[in-house]
């Protein structure tokens, strides 16, 4: 009967058919390309004169590299032509599995043309901007990885924002009193404790996961604000942590452009690289990873082969909390040494978006976080290139990007988990 059933194998046929939904989405995407093309042409091309000078090395780099000079208008014409082509091709054939890649490239080109327009007539430092982009991606990445760890075991962690904030707060206080190292450890631990609370609420008491997460956010925000005004204001010495300085990695740091951008950063950035590598390997190459994903995808199946679903969930969520807590320390120990009320300003949620954008994969999460970091550093940069765009709108950029990304991609990405609370009689 073997052969009989193999006939049954899949009810597919050679006839290639796309769902109406797919077709619709493809067309919409195509229209987006065309609009971008038009915008590029009209806003950045026509009537903009002057060259944009992109500085891609810093004084004192081992290898000084010349600046890139591009005519803003010219670039705009080229880019809009390419975008138009992509749009047409998208409409007619689509890009199949490479759709997202192409989209990323398209948006990248658009951003480039935008920069050239903004910098037309002046010069500005790409190195600086990308360096900043990496820095700003750090807490987002930690948040996103924390999300990946939790969601791969079937727990949505909306509480990342709170865990970051808790980590920042603890990092500041413990860092001020016992030193940076202790501060980072303590920050991670606090994240872990908050995660434990999340785990208990969702796994043991089966509280709605999103409610539980939001509770953690509100609670941490209230608590840190309360103690900030109650204690830190009078006792500034408690809010004055040592700061991790950037240090250049030998050799790697000397590579033109790449070097200063990637390898002249502080410990948190390097920790981020390690974390991404470690989680990727762990999730997909180890026993722990296999079990974690099994528990997320189908808890009862894992249970029936004797995997302790609950403890897997607990440990992974706690692990996620440790990651988020440590990431939170970036805001204080990794950046300015001082805690301020609600200083995470929504980075935790952007981290969630990055996780989704990154399809619950650590590397994806990192890339997504870099996109947000870029948007974020872009708005900083644009403020000083007298663009006609009001700063309030520039400040919206990261949030707008988040919405666009989530709306554009989550629809098509399937979460790796069954998020319903696992019940065991």
């Amino acid at each position: 009967m073997g052969h009989v059933t193999t006939v049954t194998a899949t009810a597919t046929t050679d006839r290639e058919i796309r769902t109406p939904a797919e077709v619709r989405r493809a067309k919409i995407l195509a229209i987006v390309y065309l609009l971008l093309a038009a915008l590029t042409l009209w806003a950045f091309g026509i009537g903009s004169e002057g060259d944009a000078t992109f500085v891609i090395s810093r004084p004192g780099d081992t290898f000084e590299v010349g600046n890139i000079v591009v005519p803003a208008a010219g670039l705009a014409y080229v880019v809009s032509a390419i975008l138009a082509f992509l749009g047409a091709r998208q409409w007619l054939r689509g890009f199949g599995s490479r759709t997202n890649l192409v989209l990323a490239i398209g948006l990248g080109l658009f951003a480039l043309s935008f920069l050239a327009w903004a910098a037309a007539g002046t010069s500005f430092s790409l190195v600086g901007m990308f360096q900043e982009a990496i820095k700003r991606a750090v807490p987002i990445t930690f948040g996103a990885i924390s999300g990946v760890l939790c969601e791969r075991t079937g727990i949505i962690n909306i509480g990342i924002e709170g865990m970051l904030l808790g980590g920042a707060f603890t990092g500041a206080i413990v860092g001020s009193t016992l030193g940076a190292a202790a501060g980072m450890v303590a920050a991670a631990l606090v994240g872990g404790v908050l995660a434990l609370v999340l785990a208990i609420l969702t796994v043991k008491y089966r509280v709605d996961q999103i409610i539980a997460g939001v509770v953690i956010n509100i609670f941490v925000l209230g608590l840190t604000s309360f103690y900030t005004s109650q204690i830190l204001v009078e006792n500034q010495q408690l809010n004055d942590a040592p700061i991790m300085r950037a240090f250049e990695i030998p050799l790697l740091g000397d590579i033109p452009f790449i070097g200063p951008v990637l390898f002249d950063q502080n410990i948190f950035v390097y920790a981020m690289y390690l974390l991404v590598a470690a989680t990727t390997y762990g999730l997909f190459q180890t026993r722990w990873g296999l079990r974690t994903r099994a528990v997320g995808e189908k808890p009862r199946a894992a249970d029936t082969v004797g995997i302790n679903v609950f403890s897997m969930k607990y440990w992974n969520v706690i692990l996620g909390g440790l990651v988020a807590g440590f990431g939170g320390a970036y805001f204080t120990i990794g950046s300015v040494g001082r805690f301020d009320e609600n200083m995470t300003a929504g980075r935790g949620f952007i981290g969630l978006a990055a996780m989704i954008f990154g399809r619950w994969h650590p590397v994806g999460a990192l890339s997504a976080a870099l996109v947000f970091g870029f948007a974020d550093s872009l708005q900083v940069k644009l403020g000083i290139l007298e663009t006609p765009i009001p700063s309030e709108f520039l400040a919206m950029a990261p949030y707008l990007v988040t919405i666009v990304v989530v709306a554009g991609l989550v629809g098509r990405s399937r979460p790796p988990s069954d998020y319903t609370a696992y019940v065991k009689e």
């Binding site: 009320e341 300003a345 000083i384 700063s391």
Partner: protein, 323 residues
């Protein structure tokens, strides 16, 4: 209401903060410092109510009125209306409001405003004379007058220097003519302080004036990690307010809110209270330029003396800062 008897007998100096809170390292804080100093000197006790939201102003003012405060200090334009209403409803209480002026003036309210641009002008002049890269920068918290007046003065100071010396020192981050520039859009994120300073530095600025309360501390932090980068502090003397990074404050644009509040308290508690508008100027030292402290030898002595004479010219009106 919020009346409790504890010490309603003795005199009180009471501050209602705006939503920034008393620990904003900005004008709420310096007003509070003035109130506390006055309270100490005149044997009153200082009280503060933090406002969490717009809706709190009225209530906070009322509870202080009920407490019979001898002077109620309110801070910032956000409290403009609330203070006016409270003052009109309670003619017997005395008020003073920071960074706000009524016209026509209200009987029992003393407005405290500052020609910060006079001092910022001097700072700009110093910066222009000190920069090694020929580029200086500034950024603000939110695009509102109390902030941008610093930036106006700073930029005009630089331009004045260029005009005098025929140099071409650039100022990044603010254009007094279009009133657009670089803003963090918050007064909290020190990380933004770093980022905004960094991006100015990337474009070659070596002297940065952050006008965003505590956000500036981030910039100072960054400067202390790099070499050849200096900060111009605002409101208070960064050298004292931020001891960790004291050494990188070239100077600071002083806005002596504390002195003004102190003076108002003095009037209120010693029966000389008037509603005459107080305008802090270089002349009455309501605004000023902080000493160069450790960096004194970085500022050439002739530049220092030019600054001195420039101050006199501004006071005398020979030089206009609103250029």
């Amino acid at each position: 209401g919020g009346d409790d008897d504890s010490g309603s007998a003795d005199t009180k100096i009471c501050e209602v903060t705006d939503v920034g809170g008393v620990d904003d390292k900005g004008f709420n804080a310096s007003a509070w410092a003035g109130a506390q100093r006055a309270a100490a000197d005149f044997g009153a006790d200082p009280k503060v109510l933090e406002s969490q939201a717009e809706t709190d102003y009225e209530v906070n003012l009322n509870s202080f009125i009920d407490e019979g405060c001898d002077l109620i200090v309110t801070v910032g334009f956000l409290l403009g209306d609330a203070t006016a209403n409270a003052a009109n409803a309670n003619p017997e209480s005395k008020f003073t409001i920071v960074d706000f002026a009524y016209d026509p003036p209200i009987e029992n309210v003393k407005g405290l405003v500052f020609n910060t641009d006079e001092a910022a002008f001097l700072a700009g002049y110093v910066a222009a004379g000190t920069t090694a890269t020929g580029t200086v920068g500034t950024f603000g918290g939110i695009n509102i007058p109390p902030v941008t007046i610093f930036m106006d003065g700073f930029v005009r100071g630089v331009r004045y220097y260029n005009a005098q010396k025929g140099t071409d020192v650039q100022v990044l981050g603010w254009d007094p003519d279009t009133q657009e520039g670089s803003f963090t859009n918050n007064f909290e994120s020190l990380d933004d302080g770093r980022a905004f300073a960094q991006s100015l530095i990337d474009e070659g600025a070596d002297i940065v004036m952050p006008v965003a309360g505590p956000v500036g501390l981030g910039s100072a932090q960054l400067a202390s990690e790099l070499d050849g980068i200096y900060i111009v502090g605002v409101d208070v003397d960064g050298f004292e307010a931020d001891p960790n990074n004291a050494s990188i404050y070239l100077t600071s644009v002083l806005k002596r809110i504390d002195n003004a509040v102190y003076a108002a308290a003095d009037e209120a508690l010693n029966g000389t209270f008037t509603n005459d508008l107080y305008v802090g100027t270089l002349e009455n030292e309501g605004v000023g330029l902080a000493p160069y402290h450790d960096l004194a030898d970085m500022v050439p002595s002739d530049l220092q003396s030019e600054v001195e004479s420039l101050r006199d010219d501004i006071i005398s009106g020979a030089v206009s800062v609103s250029g």
